[in-house]
Amino acid sequence: MIQLRSVSKSYGNIEAVKDVSFSIEKGEIFGILGPNGAGKSTIVNILNTLVKPDKGDVIIDGVNIKDDGDTIKLIMGVVPQEIALYEELSAYENLMFWGGLYDIPQPELKANVNNTLEIVDLSGRKNDRIKTFSGGMKRRINIACSLLHNPKILVLDEPTVGVDPQNRNHIFEVIERLNNDGMTIIYTTHYMEEAERFCDKIAIIDVGSIIAQGTLKELRKVSDVKDLITVKLADSGNEIISRITSVNSLYKFDGTTNTLKVECVNITRDISIIINHIQNSGGVIERIYTQGTNLESIYLKLTGKELRD
């Protein structure tokens, strides 16, 4: 459905996007994960033909954006990072205005508006002015405005920034519903848990370059990040500690916190082996913590830095 081939874009001396390539299949949710300023919005603007890449090709639904940018705009809906709405207009007026830009016949547009209001669960507030809405409700209308022309592809640029958990879940449900209906979704975010929750594939971007991409499983493999089991031991003698750690170099003991850290491939499978080994060695377990491999640890491993809000 979407292919980026060696795309680069610079602004003066700043390379906003460097040799980026990825492909997205029809009906996929593709996450672009990276900190602010990593180049996510530039990629979104390249996809929507607003920014011309200096190098590379972008093929969307079989059309090269260099050849027919207008068609791309018709098959793509973009939800901007900002709440780009007219506060003094009602939700309905906003939707009619934004949908009207696509030359949709009035009866069809009205039907689309009502349908979209239902999707974002705001039909009851359709005649209220946007300025009376909460931040989360505005975000939902912000999404709704990009759905009115029934796009095949929806690009969401950080759609949950500043949204409370309840509204965030509401937005997730909308995205999942649209995806279930067959819509291809590109989702840029710097929230790990969002990318983890529903992205089929994720591209990790940092300073304009994609460092890794694939499914979560593939990313885990590429990054070589392991699950971690941390065992807090009751006071134990050196002899016991030595007995535990001598078996395998993966057992690492931290004397200051009296904890044992073990990297493993599969927590569920390995935890009982580790517990048995400690107990058989004479160790007494006070507490056990487990940390599975997640996007955060993968990102940390790949970039050497944490992804913060």
Binding site: N45, L50, K73, V78, P80, Q81, L101, D103
Partner: protein
């Protein structure tokens, strides 16, 4: 208390708009008013001389002497022409007044009869007329009387006492002139605005104020483009199939429409409440409203295009609009300004707009005579629109 004071002081100086409105704008306006009312910067500390048309139909030594004396006055600059042309230029607003010395002037003077001399003037320019009146009456006409009186006594003495001593003759003439109260009468004729009932102040109020307020409201429309840029709606519009130029034209169309609506409403208000006669020249009025609205709306959009942020646009608009209104005739009569400011005033929309409406309602000029002003306003609009398009492409539509 001191901490609060310090905090407010810091906030104040961080707020560019407050600093500009508090210090820069008053300084600019004071400078302009000082130039205008205080004649600062003018030659010899005086106001710019008033231009007076003079038509000498008599072509006698007396008429030439009068013209010479008028020309030697510092407050008046004369331009020689014929009678018809002089009247036409006063009617068109090019000159405040014209002195027409008709045939038989010298004969009438010598005969002590009513002199055929007339000052035709535009009473809307009362300050200039005041200067003309003061100078012509006090200086020139008393001199004219003196010339003629002297000539007639000289003639009499030569006829009656051909051998009289020159010094005695001069003493007699001096004494006679001193005791004479002969003053020729000038006919004063207002030739502008006599055909309509509209009061002069009303025209100034409607035209001057309308354009000033129109500039502010249109600047607001222009600034809204930058507001849309800042809140992301411009980018969202660009995500749609709309072209960037269509967004700009849409805004311009709105600014133009609002300008027409506002100007029309003001004239209708003046008609309803103050009985301003709008039927004087309807085609010219419609064209002037369109041309003024176009020039003003283009200026509003241009100001927004020049600025990088909404804040900057607001500051710039306030300064430009007030300064332009001050030099364009909305606040200060043009003729009392230094000539350099009078030339700059020609660049202001206010000047051409106000003069155009004066042409319609005060001078009752035909459409053909008003067309140059209409075309000039349209040209200002076109130039500003083209400049705005280029600036917007570079600044506003850039992601």
């Amino acid at each position: 208390m001191f901490k609060l004071f310090k905090k407010d002081l810091i906030l104040f100086f961080h707020d560019q708009r407050s600093v500009i409105l508090t210090f820069l704008l008053p300084v600019i306006l004071i400078t302009l008013f000082a130039f205008a009312y205080g004649s600062i910067g003018a030659y010899n500390g005086r106001s710019e001389p008033v231009k007076l048309m003079v038509a000498d139909m008599d072509q006698t030594s007396a008429s030439k002497e009068i013209i010479y004396r008028i020309d030697s006055l510092e407050d008046i600059n004369i331009v020689i022409s014929d009678s018809a042309k002089s009247k036409e230029l006063v009617i068109k607003g090019k000159f405040a007044g014209a002195l027409i010395i008709n045939k038989g002037f010298q004969d009438s003077l010598e005969a002590g009869k009513a002199t055929p001399i007339e000052l035709v003037y535009d009473r809307s320019r009362e300050m200039e007329i005041g200067i003309l009146q003061q100078n012509i009456f006090r200086t020139v006409m008393s001199s004219a009387g003196e010339i003629v009186f002297k000539k007639s006594i000289e003639k009499y003495l030569q006829n009656q006492f051909p051998d009289i001593d020159k010094s005695i003759s001069d003493n007699i003439i001096r004494a006679a002139i001193k005791n004479s109260n002969y003053t020729p009468v000038i006919k004063w004729t207002s030739i502008v605005g006599e055909k309509n009932d509209t009061k002069l102040g009303l025209i100034q109020a409607v035209a001057g104020t309308a354009i000033l307020m129109l500039l502010f409201s249109v600047a607001g429309v222009g600034t809204s483009i930058l507001e849309e840029k800042e809140n992301g709606t411009i980018n969202r519009l660009l995500y749609s199939p709309l072209k960037g130029s269509a967004i700009l034209y849409g805004k311009m169309m709105f600014a133009f429409f609002i300008s027409i609506l506002q100007l029309t409403s003001m004239f209708l208000f003046a008609w309803l409440i103050f009985n301003m006669d709008l039927s004087v020249n309807i085609p010219a009025l419609i064209l002037m409203i369109i041309a003024t609205a176009f020039a003003v709306s283009s200026l509003g959009i241009f100001l927004a295009a020049v600025a990088k942020t909404r804040q900057q646009a607001q500051n710039l608009s306030t300064i430009i609009i007030l300064v332009m209104s001050a030099i364009g005739g909305s606040m200060i009569p043009l003729f009392i300004m230094p000539s350099i400011l009078q030339k700059i005033a020609l660049l202001s929309v206010n000047y051409w707009g106000i003069q155009g409406f004066y042409d319609i309602f005060w001078r009752s000029l035909p459409l053909v005579a008003i067309l140059p002003k209409i075309l000039l306003l349209m040209s200002i609009g076109i130039v500003l629109t083209l400049a705005s398009i280029q600036l917007f492409k570079k600044r506003v539509m850039k992601l």
